[in-house]
């Protein structure tokens, strides 16, 4: 994680256009609910990647934001009958609040201790979720109504919901991208690469870390709220440490510090979950295997390795030609 910083390259316009076209056409080819699941998980992974990849804070408890937000959104939809737009905001807001309190404590320690503390706080949250009166204990909150988004869009239609989820997740990715590119993001990267130096330059390091942590938890909360809307259910699984582990797996498989990594990672993990939906232990076994292989063999992840391969090839081409082609900085 302490590799020299590199800012993500701008994607070429044709790639963005192709991606948007594929995303718009996807529900006519694949099952919309599967796609929405993939998008929710990708947003969760992107929120974690913001923290792990760009701030160097390995949060092992992102399920607490994902799961609490799912509960809050489900409760406000089902019991209070709120508009889905408000329910999504409430979920993300609740997650941000937990992030603010938990983060203020967790960032007092660095490195591995930070990871263990976030895991323990997440465990505390999942105990509360098990016992609190409004979470439905082992049953969770079921049959959550989808309602009409902003009073207009009927979300009962999977296709309408898909485009809404796509727009929101797209906005989430855009926020991550803008954050990483911003001066604020550069300070975060500086803190990751050399915290003492960032302190000596006068940056209030802990405030930056906390701000990034709260932003990340809000995005993870948004992903959790969307998940509650899509599957119409919020359960203990959403707050459990296995969910935190899966989010981390997606980030690692896709590649840290890559913007497309969470997409690839989420696709791999969600496909794995669906293939072996009825064999939880096989999923566990495979996830463990993937973790071990990725960490031992390709630490940069799928997207990271691909970028590295392209960079090597570009360097090779530049060495053979006298004038390197443009745009290969």
């Amino acid at each position: 994680m302490h590799t020299p910083s590199h800012t993500p390259r701008r994607l070429p316009a044709w790639a963005i256009a192709l991606g948007v076209a594929a995303a718009l056409a996807a529900p006519f080819v694949a099952y919309p609910v599967f796609l929405m699941k993939f998008l929710c998980w990708a947003l969760l992974a992107a929120s974690l990647n913001l923290l792990v990849g760009y701030v160097g804070l390995l949060s092992f408890g992102h399920a607490m934001f994902f799961g609490s937000a799912a509960y809050v959104a489900a409760h406000s939809l089902q019991v209070w009958g709120w508009d889905p737009a408000l329910a999504l905001l409430a979920g993300a807001g609740a997650a941000a609040l937990i992030g603010l309190v938990g983060g203020a404590l967790a960032i007092r320690r660095q490195g591995i201790a930070f990871s263990m503390i976030t895991l323990a706080i997440a465990q505390l949250v999942s105990f509360v979720a098990l016992r609190a009166p409004f979470t439905g204990g082992e049953d969770g909150i079921q049959n959550v109504p989808r309602g009409r988004f902003a009073g207009l869009l009927p979300l009962g239609d999977d296709l309408v919901l898909y485009y809404l989820v796509l727009a929101i997740v797209g906005a989430g990715f855009w926020i991550v991208y803008r954050t990483v590119q911003s001066p604020f993001g550069h300070v975060l990267t500086a803190i990751r690469d050399n915290e003492p130096r960032a302190i000596s330059l006068g940056y209030r390091v802990n405030r930056y870390k906390l701000a990034a942590y709260v932003l990340s938890s809000a995005l993870a909360g948004l992903a959790g709220s969307l998940k509650a809307l899509v599957f119409q259910i919020a359960t203990l699984t959403d707050v459990s440490w296995t969910t935190s582990g899966e989010a981390l797996l997606m980030v690692i498989v896709g590649g840290l510090q890559t913007l497309a990594g969470p997409l690839v990672g989420a696709l791999v993990v969600v496909t794995m979950q669906n293939q072996f939906a009825s064999f939880a232990e096989v999923v566990l076994l495979l996830q463990g295997l993937v973790f071990v292989v990725v960490v031992l063999v390709f630490r940069r992840g799928v997207v990271g390795e691909w970028e590295a391969w392209r960079a090597r090839r570009a360097a090779g081409a530049a060495a053979t030609k006298i004038n390197p082609p443009e745009g290969q900085a």
Binding site: M1, H2, L58, L105, A106, R108, R109, G111, I112, A113, S115, M116, I117, L119, A120, I121, Q123, L124, F127, V128, L130, R131, W241, G245, L248, I252, A280, E281, V282, V283, L284, L285, L286, Q287, G288, L289, V290, F291, V292, V295, L296, R299
Partner: protein, 294 residues
């Protein structure tokens, strides 16, 4: 004293014993984690799975070989330590010098792998393991099963012995020196990589020992490790990362606190360890016995 705060003394003693039993396992496991963290700077996420592995090996020895508890107590720590050393040699070694987070992720993957494999074979339910000691001591107001007393006594003994080994012997001095300055220790002709392998083996062996001791009390189940490990992590943070004394004191202390909480506020028993952790972080971020630099 027949009633304290309206609670019968038998209940207090009962929860105290349960607390000390749980605390014994917290202490044994956090001790192994502290030793591994102290030298290798690795958080061994697979610790719970290795504890579960120890319990299953003990169970399999009885089931297939007819070797009972006392044999298991001797052999299982050695076997799990050997497995640990193999893991260190073949996998963790390759991550040396990288961000310690990769080792955390690797051991997390190993934990999932082990738990998944055992759940595939044995399902989520537990296998019974008969207690090797029957009977017990009858106090005026409570009955103390002999096996539980044995667990408490044995784990205190193991904790003290491990502390003595690391803090008072020549080998322990090498360990601590290799932690402070590995390059210098190598120039003295001490094989630091071997030391790392042995240390990881020692930590995993302690987890295996914990597993054998737990087998007659809790059921031998694939889930027993992951249920425990998160609590043990909190215990390690409270005691101070890498501190052996901290691990032991916090382990037993939190076991007792948890037991007493179950008596007074039953619903809070599951979270009290985490609440104590948050309080510790707020008041003393480096942990009770931790040093500021870890």
């Amino acid at each position: 004293m027949d009633h304290l705060l309206g609670i019968p003394p038998a209940a207090i003693v009962g929860q105290l014993i349960v607390g000390l039993i749980n605390g014994s396992f917290y202490a044994l496991l956090s001790l192994g984690l502290a030793i591994i963290f102290g030298l290798l700077h690795i958080v061994n996420f697979a610790h719970g799975a290795q504890y579960m592995l120890g319990a299953f090996i003990a169970w399999a020895m009885l089931e297939y070989l007819g070797l009972g508890y006392w044999w298991a107590l001797l052999i299982v720590p050695l076997v799990t330590a050997a497995i640990g050393m193999l893991i260190e040699r073949t996998m963790l070694r390759r991550l040396h010098g990288l961000d310690p987070v990769y080792a955390l992720l690797l051991t997390f993957g190993l934990a999932l792998l082990l738990e998944g494999a055992f759940r595939l074979k044995f399902g989520a339910s537990g296998q019974p393991y008969a207690s090797p000691l029957s009977g017990g001591i009858t106090l005026p107001f409570a009955f103390l099963p002999a096996y539980r007393i044995w667990v408490i006594v044995a784990s205190v003994a193991v904790c003290v012995a491990t502390w003595w080994f690391v803090e008072r012997t020549r080998f322990g001095a090498y360990l601590r020196a290799a932690h402070e300055n590995p390059a210098l220790v190598r120039t003295f002709g001490i094989r630091v990589p071997l030391l790392l392998t042995l240390t990881y083996g020692l930590g995993v062996g302690l987890a295996g020992l914990g597993g054998v001791m737990a087998a007659p009390i809790y059921q031998v189940s694939p889930l027993m490790g992951s249920n425990l490990i998160v609590v043990v992590f909190a215990v390690v943070v409270i005691g101070g990362m890498g501190s052996i004394v901290g691990a032991i004191v916090a382990g037993f202390g939190l076991g007792v606190i948890e037991g007493l909480t179950r008596l007074l506020v039953p619903d809070a028993a599951g979270v009290v360890v985490f609440v104590v952790m948050l309080l510790t972080l707020a008041l003393r971020p480096q942990g009770l016995f931790g040093r500021g630099d870890l």
